[in-house]
Symmetry: C2
Subunit: 750 residues, 2 copies
C-alpha cells in the first residue's frame, strides 16, 4: 500500500512536471539579479518579449536599463532594453507621481522597499511618500500610485525624457522632438521622437495614450523650462514637452494610470489600451502577466535543485525572454504579413546561446524571430546584426544573423522562407555595405573575397563615411574569423537547399581563418590569428594580448580568445595548434593563465573545445567551475553584462548539461546540474534529461543513454531529441572514459 502510494505520488509529480498544472515558476525568478556588477539587466515589469518594459529611470539617466541601485528615480518610463552597453537606448514616456511643487526634470525621489517579480515592480518614492506599483500587458503600462501624504497630489508625463543624453562617442540619444496634449481630465496623449544611442540608429517615435481613473482637478503642460498651467497642449517644435494632472490631496488615495504605447500613432496607443486592458483591475493585469511568464518559463521544469540554484536557473531563463521585442503590428515603415521584432541587441551576442535556446524551448517564437529577420532583409536589403528603435546598426563582427538562419534551418524550424533567407545570407557574403560599414552586412567583404582575409590596412570608412580618418585594422581579425564561420553556416544551408556549387564555394571560404594564422609562440602555444597586410606580409607591431574594440584588429577580445574561434572546424584548429596534446595544453594555459573572459561571447564556446580534443570531462569540470564562481542569486550574480540575455542563456544550457555549437545541429554535453529536468517543446515534444546519482561529488559522467540506447558520444544532434526523447546521464565522482573516442563533427572530418 505504501509502495503504491509512493508510485502514485511519483506518477503525479511526473504528470505535474510533464503535462499537469503549471507550478508557479515566477516565484523562482528574481529580476534584480544582474542589476549590479555591470549586468545591466532590466528589473521592471514586462511580459515575455513584451513591447512595454516599464521601470524606473534613475540617477543621471545614463544607465542602460534605466535602473540604478541606490539612485533617485525620475519616474517610470515604458521602453527599455536589458543587458546592453554603450550609449543607452529608449527610456521614453516617463510617468512620475508627486506631491507639491512641479519642476520638470527635477522631480527625482530616492527609492525604498523595491520589489520586483515577473510582470510586477513596486517601490516607495521617499520624497513624496508615494507607493508606486507597476504591471503591464504587452503594449500597456499599468501604474498604481498610492499617496501617503496630504500635500497636493499630482502625476506628470514627461514626453521629453529619455536615457543616454550627452553620452560620448556618438552614442548619445538625442531628442528630435516631442508633443503632448491633454484630451480630457482623464486622458493625455503625445509622443517622443529620439535618435541615436549605442546602435547610432535613426529617429524612432514612441506614441502614447494615458488614461487616468481619477479626473484631474487642474492641469498644465510645459515646453522646455516653461510651465503653462491651464494650457492643454504643447506642439512639437523640437523641444522637451510634458503635461501634469493635479488631484485634490487625500492621504491613502490611489490613482491608477494606464499608458498605452505604440510606434504607429496615438490612436493606435489608445486602441492598444482598449484591446488589452479595458478595465481598471490592477491585480487582474498582474495575474495575467504571471500566467504568461509561467507558461513561458515552464518550457523547462527542473527537479532536485537547491532553492538558490533554482533561482539562478529561472532568473537566467527569464532573462533570455526579454529581447528581442515583439513589435508585430507596430512597424511604421512597411506593411507585412510577417512578424516584426525589434531590439536585436546584438545578434553577435545572442546567436551563440540565446537563439539556439529559443529554438529548443520555444520553436514557434524563434521561427517568428527568424521570419522577422528575413522580412527586414526583404524591405531594407540586409538582415541586421543589431537593431533597435526600428533601425539597423551596429555590426559588431561578422554577419552572424547567418548563424541564426543556419541554426533554424538545420533544426527544421517551420514557416520560414529559407530560399529568401538564403538570399539574405548570400547578400551578406557578396555585397559589402555602403558608406557606413558599421550598419549592416560585411565590411571589407570585397577584400575578404579577393584575399581570403580582411587585410590589416582595411578600413577606409569605419567611423562613418568620412575619408579623413582611415583606420588601420578595424576589426579585421574578428571579421575574418567570424566571416569564415558565417561562410560555413551558408555552406550548410546551401547544401540543404541542394545548391551544391554554392556549398562548395562557401565550404572553401569557411577555412579562411587559416589565412591569418601565423606561427608565433606565446606561453607555450604556437599559432595565433595575426594582422596581415594586403600584400600578404604580417604586421610586426602586434601582440597576442592586444585586445580592442571599434577600430582595433580584434573586437572585445584578444588573439588568445579569437584564435580559438573556429567552431566550424575545430579539427583543423587542433592540427594548426600542433595536434591534440598541444591543443589540450593550450586550453589549460588559456583557463589557468586568465585568458578566458567569462563575460565575453568569443569565449562562450571555448570550454567545449576540450570535448573536440577527446576530454569532455575537462569541458564538464571547466563549465561547472565557471558556473559555481560566476552565477549566483546576488544582484551581481551575472558575470558582467548580460548582453540581451546571452550570459543567462549560456548558463541555462550549461546548467541543463549541454551547449549548442550555434549554426550547426550539434549540442555538446557539458555539465549536468539537475537530477531531472523536462523540456517541453510544445505539441507533445517532451525531452527529459536525467542525471542519475548526481551529487556534489558525483559530477562526472560515467555513461549516458539517449532514448534508451547507450550514448558513447559527448555530443548529440538536434534531430535526436527534436520530437522528444530522454537523455540519461549516470554520474560518477571521477572522470572516466565517457565520450572520449567519438569526436564531435567538424568541417575537416574526424
Amino acid at each position: 500500500m505504501k509502495r503504491t502510494l509512493i508510485l502514485i505520488s511519483l506518477f503525479l509529480i511526473s504528470l505535474n512536471l510533464s503535462y499537469g498544472q503549471t507550478p508557479n515558476l515566477c516565484d523562482a525568478v528574481d529580476p534584480f539579479i544582474g542589476t549590479e556588477g555591470g549586468g545591466n539587466t532590466f528589473p521592471g515589469a514586462t511580459l515575455p518579449f513584451g513591447m512595454v518594459k516599464l521601470g524606473p529611470d534613475c540617477g543621471d539617466k545614463r544607465s542602460n536599463s534605466g535602473y540604478v541601485p541606490g539612485a533617485a528615480a525620475h519616474g517610470f518610463s515604458h521602453t527599455h532594453v536589458s543587458g546592453t552597453g554603450g550609449g543607452a537606448k529608449y527610456g521614453n514616456i516617463l510617468v512620475m507621481p508627486f506631491t507639491g511643487r512641479i519642476e520638470p526634470g527635477k522631480m527625482a525621489s530616492a527609492m525604498d522597499n523595491e520589489r520586483a517579480s515577473p510582470g510586477y515592480f513596486s517601490v516607495g518614492l521617499k520624497a513624496y511618500q508615494i507607493k508606486a506599483e507597476l504591471t503591464v500587458s504587452h503594449s500597456v503600462g499599468f501604474h498604481q500610485y498610492t499617496y501617503r501624504g496630504n500635500e497636493e497630489q499630482g502625476i506628470l508625463i514627461d514626453a521629453g525624457s529619455f536615457l543616454g543624453e550627452g553620452h560620448c562617442c556618438g552614442e548619445a540619444q538625442e531628442l528630435i522632438g516631442s508633443e503632448i496634449r491633454i484630451i480630457s481630465d482623464t486622458h493625455i496623449e503625445g509622443y517622443s521622437r529620439v535618435r541615436g544611442g549605442w546602435n547610432k540608429g535613426g529617429a524612432y517615435t514612441v506614441y502614447f495614450a494615458a488614461l487616468f481613473d481619477t479626473p484631474a482637478g487642474h492641469y498644465g503642460t510645459w515646453k522646455g523650462d516653461a510651465i503653462e498651467p491651464g494650457t492643454a497642449a504643447a506642439f512639437d517644435s523640437g523641444e522637451k514637452t510634458g503635461a501634469y494632472f493635479r488631484f485634490a490631496g487625500q492621504s491613502g488615495k490611489t490613482v491608477k494610470v494606464k499608458v498605452g504605447i505604440s510606434y504607429i500613432s496615438t490612436g493606435k496607443a489608445l486602441a492598444n489600451i482598449q484591446r488589452e486592458i479595458p478595465h481598471w483591475d490592477f491585480e487582474k493585469v498582474q495575474e495575467a502577466a504571471v500566467r504568461q511568464w509561467n507558461e513561458a518559463l515552464s518550457a523547462i521544469r527542473i527537479e532536485g535543485a537547491s532553492e538558490d540554484r533554482r533561482k539562478v536557473f529561472y532568473s537566467a531563463l527569464y532573462h533570455t525572454m526579454l529581447m528581442p521585442t515583439d513589435r508585430t503590428g507596430e512597424n511604421p515603415y512597411w506593411k507585412s504579413s510577417e512578424p516584426y521584432y525589434d531590439d536585436y541587441y546584438a545578434i553577435w551576442d545572442t546567436y551563440r546561446a540565446t537563439n539556439p535556446l529559443l529554438t529548443l524551448i520555444h520553436p514557434e517564437r524563434e521561427a517568428a524571430i527568424v521570419r522577422s529577420l528575413v522580412d527586414i532583409y526583404q524591405h531594407e536589403g540586409y538582415m541586421p546584426d543589431s537593431r533597435s528603435g526600428n533601425h539597423t546598426g551596429r555590426t559588431q563582427g561578422g554577419s552572424n544573423c547567418d548563424m541564426v538562419i543556419a541554426d533554424a534551418f538545420l533544426k527544421g524550424l517551420p514557416g520560414i522562407d529559407y530560399e529568401k533567407a538564403y538570399d539574405a545570407m548570400v547578400t551578406n557574403a557578396e555585397i559589402p555595405p555602403g558608406g557606413d560599414q558599421q550598419m549592416e552586412g560585411r565590411g571589407g567583404a570585397n577584400a575578404y573575397i579577393e584575399l581570403g582575409y580582411v587585410p590589416a590596412e582595411y578600413e577606409p570608412a569605419d567611423e562613418g563615411p568620412t575619408l579623413h580618418t582611415p583606420k588601420l585594422y578595424d576589426r579585421a581579425g574578428t571579421r575574418t574569423v567570424e566571416y569564415a564561420a558565417n561562410d560555413w553556416a551558408i555552406a550548410l544551408v546551401a547544401k540543404g537547399l541542394g545548391k551544391e556549387a554554392d556549398y562548395e564555394k562557401y565550404r572553401q571560404r569557411a577555412s579562411n581563418w587559416a589565412n591569418l594564422w601565423r606561427r608565433v609562440e606565446s606561453e607555450g602555444a604556437t599559432g595565433f590569428i595575426w594582422p596581415r597586410r594586403k600584400d600578404g606580409s604580417w604586421v610586426e607591431d602586434f601582440h597576442v594580448k592586444k585586445g580592442g574594440s571599434w577600430g582595433n584588429f580584434f573586437y572585445e577580445a584578444d588573439s588568445w580568445e579569437y584564435s580559438f574561434n573556429v567552431p566550424q572546424d575545430v579539427n583543423a584548429l587542433i592540427d594548426s595548434c600542433g595536434g591534440r596534446d598541444a591543443f589540450l595544453a593550450r586550453l589549460d594555459v588559456f583557463f589557468r593563465n586568465g585568458h578566458y573572459q567569462v563575460s565575453n561571447e568569443p569565449s562562450f564556446f571555448t570550454p567545449c573545445l576540450y570535448t573536440y580534443a577527446g576530454r569532455p570531462d575537462k569541458t564538464n569540470a571547466t563549465v561547472r567551475d565557471i558556473i559555481r564562481k560566476h552565477y549566483t542569486v546576488e544582484r551581481d550574480g551575472i558575470p558582467g553584462n548580460d548582453d540581451a540575455g546571452s550570459m543567462s542563456a549560456w548558463a541555462v544550457f550549461n546548467l541543463m548539461g549541454f551547449y549548442p555549437n550555434a549554426g550547426q545541429d550539434v549540442y555538446l554535453i557539458t555539465a549536468p546540474h539537475f537530477e531531472k529536468l523536462v523540456i517541453d517543446r510544445g505539441k507533445g515534444r517532451v525531452v527529459e534529461v536525467v542525471a542519475h546519482g548526481l551529487s556534489d561529488k558525483n559530477i562526472y559522467i560515467k555513461s549516458a543513454r539517449l532514448n534508451g540506447a547507450p550514448l558513447e558520444r559527448a555530443w548529440f544532434r538536434h534531430n535526436e531529441i527534436a520530437e522528444g526523447g530522454k537523455l540519461e546521464f549516470f554520474m560518477d565522482d571521477e572522470p572516466g572514459g565517457f565520450g572520449k573516442e567519438i569526436r564531435p563533427p567538424s568541417l575537416s572530418g574526424g
Copy 2:
C-alpha cells in the same frame, strides 16, 4: 522737350525694371503650360519652393502631378511634385466638397471653368454644383467652396488617398496606414503614411490639421469601406481612413477650410496654420501668394518681348521654382541648424540648368539648397541624386550632386561648408553604396576605380539586393561618362581648396570616358561610347542607337547622345571624333538625322558643342530653332516631361541668350531672344543683357561687349557678371566671325 520726356520715360522704365515697383509678373504665368503632352507640370496652388502644393487628383490617380485634363477630380490634395515620371509620389490629405450621399473613394466629379495662376487654382465641380477655390501659404492649403445647390452639403477629408497606387515595376506608392480624428465641429486632424513611388522611398508621414469656418451639423469617419456616422475617430490599423462634416444645405453658401500640413505632427500642422494664416480672409492669402511669386519672378525682368514669348518665359521661370521643396523645420529625422529641402527629383535632371539658374538669380536660395544636400550627407552618409518623401533614392546615372557642389563653389555661393561638401563628393567617388545600388553614391565605383570604366558585366545588385538576377550592362555607359564628368567637378573643388594631390587624381579620372571610346563608325561619324568587359574586350552585340533605361548600358538615351556627353573636356572629345571638321559634321548629322532628343537631359548641352568647335553661330541657330519649335504657350508647350523644371530652366537660359556648362564657372553665349533683360541677383548685383537690333531677321551676333569692353568670346565666366554688369549683343542678319577664335575652356587646354 520731347527728347527730354523720352529720356525721362526711359529712365523711369529703367528704374522700374531695376529698382522700382515690381510689375505683376504673375499675369505672365500660365501654370497649365506643360500639363498636357507629357510635361507633367503641377497646375495647382503653391508658393516658390512651397511645402503645400494644393491641386486636384484626377482620373485613376496615377498622374504624376495629380492633374489630368478632362478627367474627374476626386478632390484636392496637399502634396505634389511637378514634372516627374514613373510611379507617382504624394497626393496626400485629399479634401473634397460634395452634396448628397457619401461613398469614400467614389466622390469624383467632372471639372469645368478651370483657372490657375501663381498661388491660386479654381474649378467647378459639375457633379455637385460647387465652385472650388484654392490658395496657399507655405505650409497651409486654404480651401473656399461655394455651393450652388441646396442638397445636403458636406466636405470630406480622405487620409487614405494618394497617387500611384498599384503602379508597376516596384514604383507604386503603398499605404502603410492612416488615422483621423474629429476634434470638434470645426476641427479634424490625422495623418497619412505612405511608402514607395518612383524613388522607391521609405515611409513618410504627412500630418494635417483642418479648421473649418462653419461648424458641422453632423459628422462621421470611415475605415476601409465602413462608414461610421457619429464616430469621431478611426485609429491606424493599416487601413484607409477618412472623416466628413455635413452642413445644412443653403444655395450660395461658402465654406472655408484651412488645412495645415506637417511632416512632424498634427500639433505642428495646427501650429503652422496659426502662424501662417491666423484669419479667414481668402483674398489676403491669395494676395500674399501673388506678392511672393512676383518677388521671385522679378529676379529676371524682360523687355521687348511679345505677349506669348513673355508668357513662355515667365511660365518657364515659374516652373523652375516649384522644386525642391523647402521643408526647413519639418525634418522628422534629425535636428539641424541647416536648411532642409526635399524633392530632389532628380539632380540628374536639375544640375544642368535649374541649379545654375538659381545660383544666378536666387543665390541665397541655391546656397540653402546646397547646405541641405551637405546636411543630408552629414546625417545619412551620402548626398542624394534623388530624394522625395524624406528618403533618398534613386540614382539615375552619376553622382551629379557633385556638379551642384562644384557649381556653387566655383561661383562663390556663401555660407556653405565646402570642406564637408568636398568630403561628400569624395565619398561618392570612393565608397560605393551597399546592397541597393540605385539608392545613393556611385554603383560600380570599385570597378570604375580599378579599371577606369564601369565594365559591361557590372551590375550584380541593381534591382535591389538579390543576387539571382544579375544584369548585364546596368547603366555602365551612362555611369562611366558621368562619373568622369563628376570627377572633373571634384578636381575643380579640390584645386580651389588647395588639395593639389586630389586635384591631380580626379583630373586624371576625368578622362575615363575615353576608356569606353571605341572606333566604330555610324552615319559617317567615327568613335562611340561602347560597352566593354572587365578583361578589356568590347561587347560586339551592341548598336549606337541602342538606348535604354534601368538595366541597360545607357540610361534614357543612346550612344549618339552619350558620346557627346563630355562637358569637362570637349577639346579631347573633338580630337577623338577626328578633329574640328569631323566634329562639326557629326553635330550636323546629330541634329539633322533625329538623334537629338529635345526632351532629354543628356542632349541639353549638345547645341553648345558647336561653340567649342568654333561655330557659336550654329549653337545660336540650333537653340533658336529648338525654342521656336518646342516651347509655346499651349498646354503641351513644354517638350516632354518638365523634369522638375529642367526643360523650363533650359528655356529660361537660352531665351536670355546664354547657357551654363554646369559644374564649371562658364556660360556659353547661345541665342538672345529679348531686346533687354535685367537679372537682379539681389544685394545690388544687377546684370543687364541687351540685344541691340534684335529682330526676326537679326538673330546672329555680330559683336558683343561685356561691361563696356569688347567681348571677342562666345562665352564668359561667372565672376565677370557676379557682382553685376552689362552684356551687350549687336545683332545682324547673318552669321559672322563673332566668337569663333577664342574657344571655351576645356580640361585638355585649347
